[in-house]
Every structure is written in C-alpha cells, then in structure tokens.
C-alpha cells in the first residue's frame, strides 16, 4: 500500500458525515433538526475535558476499565503459530463492549436535557447496557427488540425488565435487529422532542457512526499501551481482529491503529450458512452492495430491486443486513480486510475458547476467534494477533446447547437424540 494512503485514515467523516461516499444523513425532515442539535452537542462535548473526565471516572469505577489484555497461552500453543492476545471487553459491567458507548450517549442525553431514552437491540447486550445506565441515572428506558430475538435471547430480556426498562417486541419484518431499528426510528420521529435515541453500533445518520466509534475507541487505545507494557515500548500488534454486526466493537479496536501501516486489520462478518446466492448470511461487505438504509449509505444485503434482505446468523448480535459506513469505506480503500465465518465455524471456536482458556465467549466474538483459528497456525511465533473478546457467552448458552444437542432441562446433562 502506498504511504500517502496512510495520511488521513483517521480524519473522517467530513462535515456532511461522509466517509468517502459512505455515511451521510438520510433521515426524514422531522428528525433532521434534532440530528443537527445532537451533532452540535457532541462537537462541544468532544472538546470538553470535563466530559471526558466524567467518562473516565465511569469507565473506571462503573464499567471496570481498563479491561485486561490477556495473553491466551494455551490457545496460542494449541494453534501453534501467532501469539494471541484477547482484549477482555467481555469482563465489562453488563458483559460486553456495548456499555462503553452507552455511557457516552447517556451523558450527552443528560447534557441535552432528554429524559426518555430509546434503543434497539439484537443480542440484547446493547439493550441491557442502555437499561443499566438509565437505571443508574434515573432515566426512562424503552428498548425495541425483534420478536425472534426476544425468543432466542431470553435471559437478556429478563435482565432489561429487572433493570426497569420497557422491552417492546417488534413483529414487523422477520423480527430481528433491522426491524427493531425501524421501530426505534418510528418511536423517535413520534417523540422527537423529549427522546434521545441511543444507537448501539457505528451505524445510523451522522453523527452516530463517528460518535459511537469515538466512544468505543477506548478499546484500541488501551490495547496500544497495554501491549507496549507487556511486549515492550513501541510494540504494535501485527494483526487486529474483531467480529462485525454493525461494527462498533471492531471500529473501537481498529480506529487507533488505522494510521499504523504495519498493523493488519481484519473484520469478521457473520457467514451464517455460507456466503452464496442463497443469501443465508449477514456478510454485508462480502455479499452485499452499496445502498441507503437507517440514515446512511453503506454496503447492504439487498435484492435487484433495492429491497432489503433479512440477514441470517446464529448470533443475534450479528444479524443485521448492513454495516457501519466507515467499514464500507475501509473496505473500498483496502485499509481493512473483511472475511466471513459460518455458524458452524463459530460454534467450534466457541468450544475451543471454553476448553483451552476457560472463557465462555459470546457467539459474536466466537466468529472473530474462528478466523484466528484459520490464520494463526500459518503465522510465525513472533506475529502478534489481538482479538477483541467483546462479549461473554452467558446470554448464548441456550442457543449453543440447542445446536450442540444438549437438553438443558435434563439435569443429568444427557445429549438429546
């Protein structure tokens, strides 16, 4: 790659919210004034040391940051190649990276005087994080969740309700994350004056993709100094890898390394049953083309008529037909590489993490791990991979049990026929 390509990967988006041709503000007029307000408010907060002091304090005492950067020794030995580090964002309060971003947005909502918070959720992790922070600050919280996801992520639904949130099952479409986002946007248009929409990933109209990325970038920033501490001053990862639903944990890990040409960047999309013409997957970059949905232009799964297709993945958190616009841009510029992993491969990785490291991962980062399993054996021992272990697997044990053929109601733990 030419050196000059590396001059400006961290400057985006432009004033129209574009990363190259991607991003933008494709929303109805009703929302536009509010989105401009939000942008102004975020621009102010971004340069306000007091805002970041409050974030740092909450990150440290409420979330438990910094999350460890952990050398996965047995996993490394097992795969017999590259040296693998896991960024342990699954140890955060509420069990995933989602809370990094939620804290930032809720502090902004407070600055804007909004008292009612809405969110969409797929796996339920963003919903749980939002419900949690709303409980902490005494704000009303409404979470939209696809009906299908309500069923497959039952523990998180109960968690949100315990935390005082109202969970609204969404029946439109196939009842997954895309549909939840539609209904959240409909709520927002209706209650625009008193409501703050807390988006869970690096998608949506500008300024969301940039704002969520900035809040998640704490992940990559910590990796920089943590790796230097463990491997020596100036040592950067050779490869960083993360799973992608909308792409927020990935952007958070990637962003601080965009201008370090020696760092390979790999995003892992959900390949479902395989990325082919049957389209039973959620790999927007490897299996989609550019379009406009949910406020931004990005790669989308769509048919020839521009109708959006439903994604398909074992992982509710990756079950989204789009991807954050900055990833589309990183893909087209070639700065990052995007691959896909099938449900089956992710399940194997899930089990390997349990048996070699004693870490029960969420199904989302299991996709990233599955790609680590593919590449690590062929890389030299001094090649350092940092993978984002962005969520823990508690929420997924029922789904995994079903796929592995375990009957959870059977206390003897026998396998099902």
């Amino acid at each position: 790659m030419a050196d000059d390509l590396f001059n400006s990967f961290m400057n985006g988006p432009d004033e129209r919210g574009r990363f190259g041709d991607f991003g933008g503000r494709f929303v109805s007029e009703t929302l536009m004034p509010l989105i401009l307000d939000l942008e102004a408010e975020y621009d102010k907060a971004k340069d306000d040391p007091e805002f970041w002091a409050e974030m740092d304090d909450l990150w440290k005492h409420y979330v438990g940051r910094p999350s460890p950067l952990y050398f996965a020794e047995r996993l490394t030995d097992h795969l017999g190649g590259a040296k693998i580090y896991l960024k342990r964002d699954e140890l955060n309060h509420t069990g995933a990276h989602k809370i990094n971003n939620v804290l930032g947005q809720i502090l902004l909502a407070r600055r804007m005087g909004k008292k009612r918070i809405i969110a969409e959720t797929g796996a339920g992790q963003h919903g749980v994080a939002t419900a949690t922070v709303c409980a902490k600050f005494g704000l009303k919280c409404v979470v939209y969740m696809g009906k299908h996801d309500v069923e497959r992520q039952a523990p998180n639904v109960f968690r949100m309700r315990l935390l005082g949130a109202e969970v609204i099952p969404v029946t439109s479409g196939r009842g997954t994350l895309k549909d939840a986002m539609n209904d959240a946007l409909r709520d927002w248009v209706t209650n625009v004056r008193d409501t703050f929409y807390c988006i869970g990933t690096v998608a949506g109209p500008h300024p969301y993709p940039a704002m969520v990325r900035d809040f998640q970038s704490i992940i990559g920033q910590e990796v920089r100094w943590q790796l230097a501490e463990q491997e020596g001053e100036g040592r950067l990862p050779d490869t960083v890898i993360a799973a992608i639903g909308g792409g927020s944990n990935a952007m958070g890990l990637f962003f601080p390394f965009l201008d370090d040409p020696s760092v390979n960047i790999i995003g892992v999309e959900a390949g479902g049953k395989g990325v082919d013409e049957k389209m039973q997957h959620c790999a927007s970059l490897t299996g989609g083309r550019p379009g406009v949905l949910h406020g931004n232009r990005t790669y989308l799964l769509q048919d020839d008529d521009g109708q959006i297709l439903e994604g398909f993945s074992i992982s509710a958190g990756l079950d989204y037909p789009g991807i954050g616009p900055e990833h589309s841009w990183l893909h087209e510029t070639g700065r990052a590489q995007y691959v896909s992993i099938t449900d089956k491969e992710a399940l194997e990785a899930f089990q390997l993490s349990c048996s070699t490291e004693g870490i029960i991962p969420a199904l989302e980062p299991s996709h990233a791990l599955a790609h680590v399993m593919k590449i690590a054996p062929n890389l030299p021992r001094d090649h350092i991979i940092v993978m984002n272990m962005c969520g823990r697997g508690d929420k997924d044990i029922f789904t995994v049990a079903k796929h592995l053929g375990f009957d959870m109601s059977d206390t003897e733990g026998r396998e099902m026929d």
Binding site: R16, G24, R25, F26, V27, S28, E29, T30, L31, M32, P33, L34, S172, G173, K178, N182, L185, R186, V189, T190, N191, V192, R193, G291, V292, L293, H294, G295, R297, L300, Q302, D304, D305, G306, Q307, I308
Partner: protein, 263 residues
C-alpha cells in the same frame, strides 16, 4: 410547467382546495391496484400520490407498512410501479402523479436511469422521505434538472431557522406533515395546523397541502380549509387492506374528496 403546476393553477382559478390521495402501488395486487388508481380522478382526486413499496418504511405506521408488504409479496417492484403509472397515463394525461417512497430502490436502479424511466412513465413529482435538504445533490437537484418536481416535507420540527433551507430546491407544492410521528398514528388538528401553514406561507409561494392524521371527510374539510389542500393515505389504505372492493374504496375516496372540496 408540470402537470402539478397546471393542476394547482386550475384549482386556484376555480377557488378550490386540492384533494390528494395516497395509495400503495401494487396493493393488494397489481390488477386491483391499477383499477383503484384509474378510478381516483373520477372520485375527485386532484393529485395521486403513488406509494413505492419498500421493505423498511421508517416513517410509516403499521397500515402503510402492511400495504408495502402486501405489494412486495405480490411481486411489486419499482419497475412494475412505473408500468402501473404508464398504464394509467394511457387514459389520463392530466392528473398529476407523485411517486412517494424511500431512496434505496431509486438509488439501486441508478438515479439517471430512474429519472429517465419515471418521466417516460408520466410521473410528475417525487417525495422521498429519507432525503432531507442536506442530501439534495443525490436526487433532488438531478430531478429538478430533469423537469420533475421534488416535493419537500415540512414538519412541526422544521423551525424558522431551517425553513428557508427546506424551501430551497423544492417545487410543485409543499407537503406539511401535521404531526411529529408516523403515518396513520395521531389525528391532525386544524387549530394547530392553521398557524403552521401561515408560518410556511411566509417562506414560500408554493401551495401547501397538509397530510398525516386525516381520516374522515370532516377532517379533510377542516384541514383543507386552513391550507391549499389535504392528503389522505392510511384511511384509504386500511380499507384496501381489509379487502374492500375497488368500488367501495373509491366511494370512500369520493366522500373524502367532497369533504376537502367543500372547504
């Protein structure tokens, strides 16, 4: 002068308010939809808003969401929507058609190709919900250049600071969305709408029609009396959704049109 401009000029000369009806193209199927659309001018409709089905209609309530689903399940596409308009134009060269929908199907076809095809199909104007003035160079400006009206939505949240921006690059008429919300949800209130229409009038010479939350002849009359016209969508679409025969749907449309024309 587009068919839209001509229509509003004539209404003004006759001292009449406009009645605008929205139906989803291809709902519940192509043939029934064509029959309904062909009957709209006879039922007193001055401007037809033809919905372009989309899988993710973010500004629409359940009634229009379901209409879009029915149409898509029946195999409706942008191409067939244009064919429906072409078919309509064979017998009617006067009633304006405004295509209303979301950007992705248009973007997917390619803006230049879409504009060519839409003009040929006899489409006079576009309302694209997810293209605010900030994205004008996507479709709005190319459409105006192609001689097609690009009709903008103004809403209760469009404040005076923003209004001039919303009124730039727009033509045909202005669609005032009477509520903050989605289609088919809250009821419009003529008392709230009147001062808003007056406010927008100060920023534009274009006719202002009001839509969202109008569901009866009385409401159509009340709203039309404080604006240049009224739009009804969900109330008509819900009857189509219930499987009412086209003649019954059109009789209801006529009662709404009569209401608006009494204003």
């Amino acid at each position: 002068m587009t068919r839209i401009d001509a229509k509003f000029a004539k209404l003004k000369a006759d001292g009449k308010k406009a009645f605008v009806a929205y139906v989803m193209a291809g709902d519940p199927d192509y043939a029934t939809s064509l029959e309904i659309v062909k009957g709209l001018p006879g039922a007193g409709v001055d401007v037809i808003e033809l919905g372009l089905p989309f899988t993710d209609p973010m500004a629409d309530g359940p009634t229009i969401q379901l209409a879009g689903q029915r149409a898509l399940e029946g195999g409706m596409t942008l191409q067939k929507t244009l064919e429906l308009a072409t078919e309509f134009r064979k017998d009617d060269d006067e009633t304006p058609i405004v295509l209303m929908g979301y950007y992705n199907p248009i973007y997917s076809r390619g803006v230049d190709r879409f504009l060519d095809d839409a003009k040929k199909a006899g489409i006079d104007g576009l309302i694209v919900v997810d293209l605010p003035p900030e994205e004008d160079d996507e479709l709005c400006i190319p459409a105006q250049k192609a001689g097609m009206n690009f009709i903008r939505l103004a809403t209760p949240t469009t404040d005076d600071r923003r209004l001039p921006k919303v009124m730039t690059n727009t033509s045909g008429f202005v669609y005032y969305v009477s509520i903050t919300g989605i289609t088919g949800a809250a009821e419009a209130d003529a008392g709230d709408v009147a001062p808003e229409v007056a406010r927008i009038k100060r920023a534009t010479d274009l006719p202002i029609v009001v839509g969202f939350g109008i569901n009866s002849p009385e409401k159509a009359e009340a709203i039309a009396s404080v604006a240049d016209g009224a739009v009804v969508g969900s109330a008509i679409v819900s009857r189509i959704g219930k499987g009412e025969a086209p003649a019954d749907v059109l009789a209801f449309v006529k009662s709404l049109a009569d209401g608006a024309h009494r204003a």
